[in-house]
Amino acid sequence: MNNYERYDKFFERWDWARAHGAANDRLGRKLQRGLALLPHDALLRQLAETRIRQLKQMSKAGHLPPFAQAQLFDGELVLGQDLHGHPIRIMLDWLCSGLFTVANTGSGKSNLAYWLVSQLAWLACSTWLIEPYKIQFRLLLPIYQRAGKPLIILPWQNWRWNLLQCEGCDPRSHATSAAELLVRTLDIPGRAAVILRQGIHVLYTKYSVWKGDATRFPTLFHLYEWVRSQKDLNAAGREAILDRLGAFLMILTPACAAWTRGWTPQDLSRHSIVFEMRGASESIRTLLPQSLLFSVFHSRIASGLMNGPLELLLVIDDAQRIFSDHTTVEGGLTPLDEALGIVRGAGIGVWPIVQTTIGFSRRARANLAMRTFGRLGTHEDLAVMGADCGLDEEQQAYVQHNLKPGTFVGQVGLGAYTHPFVFRVPLAKFPGGVKEADVELSQAPLRELPTEFADELAKWSPQPSVEVTLTEQKPATSLSEMEFRLLRSIVASPGKSISHYSRLSRLNGKRLAKIRERLVGQGYLREHSIALKARGRTAIVIEPLAPAIAAVQANPEN
């Protein structure tokens, strides 16, 4: 270092310029190498100064973002491009530690999700995409088909769901989580919550779940019926459950939730699935995805945590409701927050995408190691995300005015480089729409999974109903020989015209008409008027009813 160095601070300025991409191109790299070998070469310094001057001018004009170039060069996934057009890469396994995205509407959150998920189509990792409102992730179907990986599009109505199914996990912890979830989602008061827990316990005993029988499980419909049948329980609590759970089950329908054996999270986690919740009520939107997350978390935790590679990425669009910062009934940690902190080692990555941090669980945010945010709508969001990502004042001021749709600030909590960086996501383009027939066809792998429907609940209704049926007219027991003869000929060849039976039973028309009239009146036969020929009168065709068949079988021809 010569004497001038301390005054012009050349290398300090050159480091700053390098951080802003001055040495990214070919000449820049040569300059860097040259300056390392000959630090005092006048020509090299002159060239470097030109670059530094250009960047300083850009900085003064406000065109240069106050972010250093991200030093993220390795990894299977390309998060986006930095402002100089270079790819920013992240390791696939980093997603196990969670990714969190906040940006207000229209800032490219969904586009970022498409961009990353479309890369996952080519990697050995399943993806669950949960969409509470939109149906846009189904557009990824052609991309997955091209990658030779099936993507299942599952509207909530086609789901074979059972909240009380605890296959592959401890029934005690599952029962607690299920009761907690129901109480929180349906806003069930304290006394009713106790009844609900008691009901789950009784049903698990009835279905031998405590003894380890994992073939059939009670459903929420069974729980409702149990509460309805227990008339000596606390009246207010019982009524509260019947009102809330009844309304919920009415919307949910037995086709979705009356499965004594539904799809298990272990089965589902082998597939990439888009869960579409469009058209569902708010309670369904909250309960179904949360129960799914619980089941998969619990089953993974039960099977042992061993810091494996990423096997399943859960992308939850508009996740505000699912990761709400409401506490449990007792005021403690929600089971989802708790599970989020544990599942990192289970090979599951969680990626909530939200519009604002207001109302989003702070405990959940703490366990999401990678953070990205786009254009934000409130000062609170900016302050929270700026602080979380470690932005300085200059960077915050830049972010407030310069984030366009598709541009995000990111910070990776893993690896060697943990400084914030700005990146741009290319606009994803999808070929055409997806037909309903393709959607139905995509569900074929799930339909092959073993399930069992509770047939007794197929016509379930919250109001008890009594089926009134007409009792079949009892035919007279004593039949004459001629009547038997006619019945035998009709049972032998049913659906023929009267003239045919007249010949067959050797009865004349007048007598046959009388016998026929009597047998029809007694409930043995039914007449149909039908045009057997193109022209002319309609013929009368005779249908033998069950009593006629029984009578003929009881009295066979001698």
Binding site: A437, G495, H528, S529, A534
Partner: protein, 137 residues
């Protein structure tokens, strides 16, 4: 099949028998699309180079639905078979009215009585004989 005695064992059975006798390939309850429980036409017959979609109805209430199903399969002719002439007349009126509102342009729809439907098949789908082949020495 989903219908009653008259539907299944009288009309459908006789029509299927007649078509098969004439060398037709008969599919009962043919679904109009793939899926778990798709709607189906009562009978789809491929006979004498014609594709017939046959729907058997004993009321006029479901004719609109039948037209939709027939249209979905794009057959050459769609036959709606009704038990007697009185019903067939009402059925024709319904089809005429529906066609005025939502024309089924590509498919020719015929509403016939059971007897007339049998006669239609006999007339339009003649029996094909197999050539007698001898071993010429």
């Amino acid at each position: 099949m989903r219908g009653t005695f008259l539907h299944n064992q009288v009309i459908a059975a006789a029509l299927a028998k007649s078509a098969r006798q004439r060398g037709g390939h008969v599919q009962i309850e043919y679904p109009i699309r793939r899926g778990q429980r798709p709607p189906a036409v009562d009978m789809l017959v491929l006979i004498a180079g014609l594709l017939l979609a046959i729907e058997i109805e004993s009321t006029t209430q479901r004719i609109a639905n039948d037209l939709m199903k027939i249209e979905a399969l794009h057959p050459d002719v769609g036959l709606i078979v009704m038990p007697n002439a009185r019903l067939a007349r009402s059925g024709k009126a319904v089809v005429r009215r529906l066609n005025a509102t939502y024309p089924v342009a590509t498919v020719s729809i015929q509403v016939l009585t059971f007897g007339a439907a049998l006669e239609w098949i006999e007339k339009n789908c003649p029996v094909k004989t197999v050539a007698h082949i001898t071993n010429a020495v």
